[in-house]
């Protein structure tokens, strides 16, 4: 019976929906996290009587035909790249992006990853690194004796050293933008990788060519909205229940059929 399999696809889809929602809720407080959404599509249709087929010798034509669908599948799980709120942290090396763009991170294997999480700190050599110790690209070294650091909106990192009145420029933070940000591959640790769907990165200074600007002392909060996640969770749970009802119904019909005495 097709109904059994159809309802099973429905349950599987809702299960995945709950997986995605729970990941969003779990990352509600993750810096720079972008919420995801599962989207569904209907499956192929089995055409039993084709529209336009003749139903009699007199040339009568079936107006719509009979098509039975096979259920639902997950079309995609995609990231919503909406801006997250700014959280003031006061940290000198915390930088949030307002607008488009990603920080570039040099991975240990020499490839570049991208992130919106701007909670950096200097490592033991004074280089700016992410929480996992990966260098940001282009590398920026903070002088050991720097008394204060300021990062401008356009990405200039300036250090004030003792005995000097003029701040010294020690590096520039650059941002990468993509034509299709939602197409980037997430690899965990708040990092994303370029993919065929995202297109190649365009690297520019913040504020140039439509890239966002930087805010020192802030981090970007996740854009997960707790209320909408909870409502989505309720909808998913009820939809799951309804699909299981279909299975019960189909099962009952099969039992009725197999109990026929003859």
């Amino acid at each position: 019976m097709q109904a059994l399999r159809t309802a099973a696809t429905g349950m599987a889809a809702q299960q995945l929906n709950v997986d995605v929602i729970s990941n969003n809720i779990a990352n509600m407080n993750t810096v720079g996290f972008k919420k995801q959404r599962a989207e569904f599509q209907d499956l192929l249709y089995q055409t039993i009587e084709r529209a336009g087929a003749q139903s009699s010798d007199q040339g009568n034509v079936v107006p719509t035909g009979v098509q039975v669908g096979g259920g639902v599948k997950t079309g995609s799980v995609y990231r919503i790249t909406e801006q997250g709120n700014m959280t003031a942290t006061g940290g000198k090396f915390d930088v949030a992006i307002t607008g488009r763009g990603f920080f570039q991170v040099m991975m240990p294997d020499g490839t570049i990853a991208y992130t919106r999480a701007g909670n950096f700190s200097p490592n033991n050599q004074g280089q700016l690194v992410t929480e996992d110790g990966y260098l940001i690209e282009p590398a920026i070294t903070i002088p050991e004796d720097a008394t204060d650091i300021s990062i401008s909106k356009s990405g200039q990192v300036q250090a004030i050293r003792p005995g000097q009145t003029q701040p010294e420029i020690v590096g520039n933070i650059e941002l990468a933008t993509f034509v299709n940000e939602a197409g980037l591959d997430a690899i965990g640790d708040n990092l994303l990788k370029e993919s065929a769907a995202s297109g190649a990165p365009t690297v520019a200074a913040p504020g140039i060519d439509g890239t966002g600007t930087l805010n020192q002392g802030y981090t970007e909060a996740s854009n997960v909205d707790a209320v909408s996640e909870i409502t989505a969770l309720i909808v998913a749970q009820r939809a799951y229940e309804m699909n299981s009802k279909v299975i019960t119904s189909a099962d009952e019909m099969l039992r009725t059929a197999s109990n026929i005495r003859s």
Partner: protein, 245 residues
């Protein structure tokens, strides 16, 4: 006598198919732009007026067609730039590998070349059948109610919305899309409105689907009972006839 069994069987078969369709509706309760379906059954042939003494014709149950309710689904706000919800009877036109198809599913995004495409890469077409290309450097994209796509002062095109005189020419092909199965030409849907940042949910009403499901299960039981009674009748008649002494 046997006819009664066959009539019962024809009803059982259509009921099973009906449950398949209800199952598909429920599975797609949460599918963007999905349109609810129901099976239309027919008893045939048309019965002549009952005349005394004449035997009444046997009526089988036949599933004639699937009826689709193209009614508006609820628009929900998503806030995404390229989520487009249609208010009205229009359809988006997209170019797929299998030719042009129509959809109410308004989830688009930019591909690597800046074209507006569906999830599986089918390009969204404008009024004249051209693609819509966005330059991300020009800033935020706004899509007006009539479908005009613009970035700042720059007008990039107009999302095409189409409708059909007869909606029955549309055939579902999966992926939330419809195929035009006739030669009927789509006409511009001038009265439909595009809402940016919204998506149209499915128009499945869970309550009516569940009630329908209960009806189907019970009808199936009833018709099975009838068939059982019928079989019992023929068993008894064979027994009685065998007892002639």
């Amino acid at each position: 006598m046997d006819n009664a069994l066959y009539v019962g069987l024809s009803r059982q078969m259509t009921l099973r198919r009906e449950l398949d369709i209800v199952a598909n509706n429920i599975a797609n309760m949460d599918t963007t732009g999905f349109k609810v379906e129901s099976l239309m059954v027919e008893t045939e042939p048309a019965a002549p007026a009952h005349t005394a003494g004449a035997p009444r014709p046997v009526k089988f149950v036949i599933d004639r067609s699937v009826g689709r309710d193209f009614g508006q689904g609820v628009l929900r706000s998503t806030g995404a730039t390229f989520d487009l919800g249609i208010q009205g009877d229009g359809f988006f036109r997209v170019r797929t590998a299998d030719g042009e198809q129509f959809t109410r599913d308004g989830r688009y995004h930019m591909d690597g070349d800046g074209r507006l495409v569906t999830e599986d890469g089918a390009a969204l077409l404008d009024e004249g059948g051209g693609e819509i290309v966005i330059d991300p450097k020009l800033g935020p994209v706004s899509i007006a109610k009539d479908g005009v796509v613009s970035q700042g002062q720059e007008r990039l095109g107009k999302v095409g919305l189409f409708q059909f005189q007869e909606l029955s020419v549309l055939e579902k092909v999966g992926e939330n899309r419809f195929r035009n199965s006739s030669n009927a030409q789509p006409i511009p849907a001038t009265e439909s409105v595009i809402q940016q940042g919204m998506l149209e949910g499915s128009n499945v009403k869970p309550i009516s689907e569940v009630t329908r499901m209960i009806e189907i299960t019970r009808a199936y039981e009833a018709i099975t009972k009838m068939m059982e009674a019928n079989a019992e009748l023929s068993r008894r008649s064979v027994e009685r006839m065998g007892k002639v002494n």
